[in-house]
Structure formats: C-alpha cells, structure tokens
Symmetry: C2
Subunit: 130 residues, 2 copies
Amino acid sequence: MKKHPVELQIEKADKAIIAEDFDTLMDIYTDDAVLVVEPGRTAQGKDAIRKAFEAIAVYFKNGLNVKQKGMEILESGNIALVHANTVISAPNLPVTERKAAYVFCKSSDGIWQCAIDNSYGNEIVKQDES
Amino acid sequence: MKKHPVELQIEKADKAIIAEDFDTLMDIYTDDAVLVVEPGRTAQGKDAIRKAFEAIAVYFKNGLNVKQKGMEILESGNIALVHANTVISAPNLPVTERKAAYVFCKSSDGIWQCAIDNSYGNEIVKQDES
C-alpha cells in the first residue's frame, strides 16, 4: 500500500533524529511548531526545538533510536492527526513504547509539516477530581 | 484561571450532546471535520457527523452523559491539540474513561472549531510487529 506523505515525513524525521541531522529534522517542522520535551515542558519554534533535540541527543549518550510500531492518520483538509506507537531506546534507556500524537499541516505548496509533536500523548494530562 | 476558548467549546459540545441539541453541536465542527465513531469507522462532514450523533443517542437509550476529567491543550498558531480524559456513561454503559484527542482550528474570525474528534485516542492504532 502506498504510504501517506505524513508517514514518509515521520520516517524522514526518525532517520534524522538517529543521525543527529538537525538541519533535515528542522525542515519537517512548521515555524511555530510545539514539541513536548517532557510532560509539563514544551519548546516552541525551530530554534527552541533544535536546541531541545541537541540536548536530548547528549542526554541519551548520542545513541537515541526511534521507530514507529503502528500508526493511524486522521485527515481533515490541510490537517492530519497521527496516533502512533513510538518505540525509543538508547544506551541509557531500555526499549520504551510511547503512545504518541502528532499534528501535521499541509502548506500551500503541498508539503506536510509537523506543527505539534507530543510523543507522550495523553500522559501529559493531569488527573483532576472534578 | 481563565479557561481556554477551546475548553469552553468542548464544554458547550458536551452540554449539546447531553441535551441532544445537534444544531448547537454542529456549529462546533468545521465543514470537513472527522469524527471517529468507533475504531476503524469515521464520519466526515457535518451531515455525516450529525447522523452519527443521532444514531449514538438512540444506541445509548437517549441517556448519554459525557464530561472531561482533566485536559491539556497544545497550541501552535491556529491549531490546537487537546488531550483529555473523557468520561462517558449511559443507561446501558457503565462509567467509561477514554483517553481522547481533539484537534481544533481557529477560523479567520477567531472562532475555534473541532476539525478532528477522536474520543478513542491511541486505541485506534493497530499494533504491527515490524
């Protein structure tokens, strides 16, 4: 089956993260994209996201691995919501699966870019008792 | 704390679902919105979404209740991704919590509308073994 262009962008992003090729990685984000660095902490804009990824690379001993194990894409006009099982590992991180959510937008020239990158998915929600 | 306008729209939608006020409910969706009716089945566009909600109301004996128990909103330009713990119940459905994801878009006149409504969240992803 032909892959959705958003899936191809995610594959490109995963390869760029593993290779620490941050120029290629930044091409995949919109100018005002938001990255959830960890629950409660976000980075917004290409500069902040690039710095976050540089710090993440060092934190994971320059050995971060990331892949997607199953993905569903919901599309409405120029917006796509991706739910994915994202598997990460590193020399100092055992294999960990996250239930990630990504929002992509299609630009006027037809390129899908990531606007919201939340590998933690629903984990960021604090339970309230109301 | 002042509520985010997206949170107010979700409150309005929940009240409209409970009251089966589908005119009000449809105002909250974009024209090409997507609703996940159940994993593997979606409804797209206001007409299809309205019919889905009418069928859902009957299926749940006209007694569907819905509320949000905790919510986080990630915003990038005119797009917002909402993660929520959505609690539903009905005469024929015990209290059930879903880890929902909603994407809202802000129109040119500043109104946030729901473009993607997936109360099942990551549950829609099929595991693959690659």
